[in-house]
């Protein structure tokens, strides 16, 4: 009886998963199926890259393309909720940010909030930022820029940054060529 119990105990101990099984365990030899999944993933990435470019060339050719991006630095004085973009008084984007997206923005990510087409000439881009300012006060601010659309693609950055001296957020609209 004792022998049986001890052997059971030992078996349990031996079958106990490695103490830190979730450690980065190196992959053993990859099976043919693994290799096929790898090859497929690479091919699907390549295909998606080609389709991504094709879609853009088709729907948003460079001659009329305009993209609006939202970026943010530390964001101490402003907790962003949403951004609304109007072009020539017509709403083209209204985006509500998740916590995860805000974290990505704070770490240097830039959100392409709108990709569209505009004909050559002058256009007015207006952005409204909604969120909470200092002391958890609701905050809505607008920023306007007149954009001269030429023959090449036009990129507009809506940047939210901290104006440390005034302890206020700052909203800057900038055009990239």
């Amino acid at each position: 009886m004792r022998y049986f119990l001890l052997s059971t105990f030992a078996a349990v101990a031996a079958s106990m998963p490695a103490v830190a099984q979730d450690a980065a365990e190196p992959a053993a030899e990859r099976s043919a199926l693994d290799a096929e999944v790898q090859a497929l993933r690479r091919d699907v990435v390549d295909l998606n890259r080609d389709l991504f470019m094709l879609e853009e060339d088709l729907l948003f050719p460079a001659s009329t393309q305009i993209a609006v991006f939202v970026s943010m630095d530390i964001g101490t004085f402003f907790a962003l909720d949403s951004v609304q973009v109007k072009v020539d008084d017509k709403e083209v984007a209204n985006y509500l940010y998740t916590e995860r997206e805000l974290e990505a923005l704070k770490r240097g990510g830039v959100h392409r909030i709108w990709l569209g087409n505009l004909k050559a000439g002058e256009h007015e881009v207006v952005a409204f930022f909604t969120g909470q300012g200092t002391h958890e006060r609701d905050y809505r601010r607008g920023a306007t820029l007149t954009v001269e659309k030429g023959v090449g693609a036009k990129y507009v950055e809506l940047r939210i940054s901290d104006r440390v001296r005034k302890l206020q957020p700052e909203f800057v609209v900038r055009v990239w060529e």
């Binding site: 009886m1 049986f4 119990l5 001890l6 059971t8 105990f9 030992a10 078996a11 349990v12 101990a13 031996a14 106990m16 490695a18 103490v19 830190a20 099984q21 979730d22 450690a23 980065a24 365990e25 190196p26 992959a27 199926l33 693994d34 096929e36 790898q38 497929l40 993933r41 690479r42 091919d43 699907v44 990435v45 295909l47 890259r49 389709l51 991504f52 470019m53 094709l54 879609e55 060339d57 088709l58 050719p61 001659s63 993209a67 991006f69 530390i74 995860r100 997206e101 974290e103 990505a104 704070k106 770490r107 240097g108 990510g109 830039v110 959100h111 392409r112 050559a120 990129y155 990239w176």
Partner: protein, 628 residues
């Protein structure tokens, strides 16, 4: 023998610990973005949307939109391939960067680090070590800490514990990494026989005060390892103290409860041992510790001389083992019919974040009952990861297939619209002669220049003034036909006066008018420029449109067969992967069923032994019972 088994089990080669970097290290330094499109890639990367980040990165790179981040983006591309498990692609990228002599040292160090990580993941520890040691010391603290741990773990996998100890001893790093370093150092020390020092280090990890889930999990693992090591060394009190520190709800809790019972039993505290063992009995019977508890409880009762309870519990164990075996049989049937994967994917959809942790609550149906247990297995997890990737690829290709249909229609519609609108557009363009307008503008410009140079007052006269000037010229001509005639003298004087007044008015208005004329000319210049630009754009659009549309049509047509061919391959791989997963699951469940069979046999044997002894002792009514 038992001691060796325990040490092997608790401090085995796979027992090294490393944190999950992205999840565990908050607040990585923010990036100063110099290309908006690079920022867009990062936006997806930081949300762990690695596939989308990689696709965008590859596209933007080919479109030349990442010029300011050429090296960073290449490093990121390698890292993304690495995170998707595409080791070969990642390795090629890092090697290419290292072969480029212009790569600056900080980027080079990161490339060495990631290359080392790729090689480590592929199990190429020698090569990995060489790469990791090639960093020249410019790595950020977090990466350098990970590098140090990878180095030590690679050595431990090759059983070079002394070298691993040398790497980790005295090493200081960020808190999370330090805890893992101490854990691994403790394991390495135990492996080389320095048990006391090793256990002391593990003990320090086992007593960490933290709210960080990953460190709490590490703390549990350390305490479990210490507990079993003491148990094996015949130190039940020390074992109990360490095992008591393991959380009751964590993944190590069943093993800790089993060990705690054994610690009490080793101290002859059988009643105390019953407490943790009975706690185990309500848990999942596929857990080895739970299976063990069904034999341990009656063993304790037998030791206490409570033979009736021992018999009851052995019978209960046999019944539970039998029920579980039949449930496993049902589950194997369900898995064979292909319902396991649907359940696994459904559980994932319901759980989203941290879905693995929530699988303990999956429905108690044959196909999903053992999911949590199966997912604890590395091979099944990896297989399911592949299956999920294939499922995502299949959906991705299906979506693109729909889009391509729309793209084809779009190109055809554009071609048709172009053909229809062309005649009207041509007719309209024909009415516009920008060259003539341009010529007239040049002529006007020249006239104004001359008038301004000569201060030609009449050149800026209004229509009315011009009429008056013409009238005066007529009067002057008439007067000229009567030279010296005194009868016209009065008229001559009036004409001279009128001309003088008119010229005075023109002279007074000269400044304003010349400014206005200049401005009007500037406006004209702008208008002519716009007209010229539009004419150029129109004719370029007119001339290039058919070719551009045709080229887009060709691209759509060329890419369509690629989508179809890939979809066929993905479906085939998905089906094979599904079968593979079912095989792994069935194999695992069969092994469990066999183990339960063995336990059941052992319980029956123990029961028979008790009955035999009871029969043998029957004449003596005061017998105490068995001595196992």
């Amino acid at each position: 023998m038992l001691r060796k088994l325990l040490i092997f089990a608790t401090l085995t080669q796979g027992a090294f610990a490393a944190p999950v970097v992205e999840e565990a290290v908050p607040g990585l330094p923010a990036v100063k973005v110099q290309d908006l499109h690079y920022g867009d890639v990062l936006f997806h990367f930081y949300q762990h949307d690695h596939f989308d980040a990689l696709v965008r990165l590859a596209a933007y790179r080919d479109q030349g939109r990442l010029a300011a981040h050429a090296r960073d983006s290449e490093l990121l591309r390698g890292g993304l391939y690495l995170s998707l498990g595409q080791h070969r692609e990642a390795q090629q990228i890092f090697e290419r960067m290292l072969a480029d002599p212009s790569t600056p040292p900080p980027v080079r160090d990161k490339a060495w680090f990631y290359l080392g990580k790729v090689l480590y993941a592929a199990g190429l520890f020698e090569e990995s070590e060489r790469a990791l040691r090639s960093s020249s010391g410019t790595l950020p603290a977090e990466l350098d800490a990970e590098r140090q741990l990878l180095l030590a773990q690679g050595l431990m996998y090759r059983q070079r514990y002394d070298q691993a100890i040398a790497e980790l001893e005295g090493w200081q790093g960020p808190r999370l990494w330090l805890a893992y370093g101490q854990f691994n150092l403790g394991v390495a020390l135990v492996r080389v026989g320095q048990k006391e020092r090793g256990l002391a280090l593990l003990d320090s990890v086992g007593q960490i005060v933290t709210e960080w889930p990953e460190l709490i999990a590490l703390r549990d693992k350390a305490n479990l390892a210490i507990g079993y090591a003491h148990l094996q060394a015949g130190e039940p009190a020390a074992a109990r103290a360490a095992l008591d520190r393991v959380r009751l709800s964590g993944p190590q809790s069943s093993k800790a409860l089993l060990g705690a019972g054994w610690a009490d039993a080793a101290a002859k505290q059988y009643e105390a041992a019953l407490l943790p063992w009975q706690e185990l009995q309500g848990r999942d019977l596929l857990d080895a510790a739970v299976q063990e508890s069904y034999l341990a409880v009656p063993y304790a009762y037998a030791e206490l001389g409570a033979m009736a309870q021992a018999v009851d519990y052995y019978e209960k164990a046999i019944a539970e083992y039998d029920t579980e075996r039949s449930r496993i049989g049902e589950s194997i049937g369900a898995i064979r019919s292909g319902r396991l994967l649907a359940a696994a994917l459904q559980a994932e959809r319901d759980g989203r974040e941290g879905w693995f942790g929530q699988l303990a609550d999956v429905p108690d149906s044959p196909e999903s009952r053992y999911l949590y247990h199966l997912l604890a297995g590395h091979e099944f997890q990896e297989g399911l990861k592949n299956y999920r990737a294939l499922e995502a690829m299949s959906k991705n290709l299906s979506d693109w297939s729909d889009s391509l249909g729309a793209f084809t229609d779009m190109v055809e519609t554009r071609q048709q619209a172009f053909r229809m609108r062309l005649p009207a557009a041509d007719a309209r363009l024909a009415t516009v002669d920008v060259a003539t307008i341009n010529g007239r503008r040049d002529e006007l410009h020249a006239r104004l220049e001359a008038a301004l140079a000569e201060r030609d007052l009449e050149a800026l006269a209004t229509e009315e003034e011009r009429g008056l000037l013409d009238t005066l010229a007529g009067v002057d001509a008439e007067l000229a036909r009567h030279p010296g005639d005194a009868a016209y003298e009065d008229a001559r004087e009036k004409a001279r006066l009128a001309r003088g007044v008119l010229l005075w008015k023109l002279d007074s208005a000269w400044k304003v008018r010349s400014w206005q004329a200049n401005r009007a000319l500037r406006d004209l210049n702008a208008a002519v420029y716009d007209a010229r630009t539009r004419e150029t754009a129109s004719s370029r659009a007119r001339e290039g449109a058919p070719e551009r549309n045709a080229a887009l049509g060709v691209r759509v047509r060329n890419v369509s067969p690629r989508v179809v061919a890939l979809a066929v391959r993905v479906d085939a791989a998905k089906s094979a992967q599904g079968h593979h997963l079912a095989d792994i699951a069935i194999e695992e469940l069969e092994a469990q069923r066999q183990r339960l069979d063995e336990y059941s046999v052992q319980a029956r044997y123990a029961l028979a032994t008790i009955y035999d002894r009871a029969t043998a002792d029957a004449p003596s009514a005061t017998s105490r019972g068995t001595t196992p």
